[in-house]
Subunit: 108 residues, 2 copies
DNA sequence: TGACATTATGTCAGTAGTGACATAGTTTGG
DNA sequence: CCAAACTATGTCACTACTGACATAATGTCA
């Protein structure tokens, strides 16, 4: 994993650590994070396309503004369940969901 | 939703209830359940293809035999996070994961 | 610039998901 | 048939995730 990707992951709250420590983060965990990042991005895109604020979006999906912000930031405190549910509630189809997830990079 | 599908969902632990009560289960929730069922099926297929027991599989993914059984049954006590992680740990790629999720039926 | 809308960050009590264990039920091979 | 392997179901203490709230930071527009 290059430094840029590491920096990006750390920016959104993941403790990646040095290269040595990173070996503890196995491929599957990395893939999970990648999937999360893709879902977060898709959610942000979707809300913006709908032209609604985080508050409005939160009300529609039965959540709070702060959590929507965390979803879009790919925060570790947000589960994939919640991200996927948010996308589906906002009108995405399972097929679209699948495409988003498939975008996640193959673990190195 | 036809009776067969309803029966299938109830069999794996979802309270679908009568048609009237079912209206409370909105499209997004239905889609979430469909996604779960697809992931559960994929996991079972995958483990069988690997020809390992639930115990062995559980050890490899850092879980327990009982939880693997619940995963494969699509039990509501299992999160999509866990299902996806299990698939990835067992060697599935994000691309394959995406295809599985895309199989979920569009909410009626 | 200042007021206002929007988004980000931190915290917390309540709830849902977890691995582990026990045990019941089922399948498989002799 | 039996025994051994396998799978299903129920339970529980522990942890992680949740919405809500407060408040800080950033953006917007006149």
């Amino acid at each position: 994993m290059d430094a840029k990707k590491k920096a990006r992951l750390e920016k959104v709250g993941w403790t990646v650590g040095t290269v040595q420590e990173f070996l503890g983060l196995d491929d599957a965990e990395m893939a999970m994070i990648e999937v999360r990042v893709q879902l977060a991005r898709a959610l942000k895109d979707r809300r913006r396309k709908l032209k609604v604020s985080q508050i409005t979006f939160a009300e529609r999906i039965g959540s709070s503004q702060s959590r929507v912000a965390k979803m879009e930031a790919g925060d570790p405190s947000v589960s994939l369940d919640l991200l996927m549910k948010a996308l589906l509630v906002s009108g995405a189809t399972p097929k679209q969901l699948g495409r988003v997830i498939a975008k996640a990079e193959q673990a190195a």
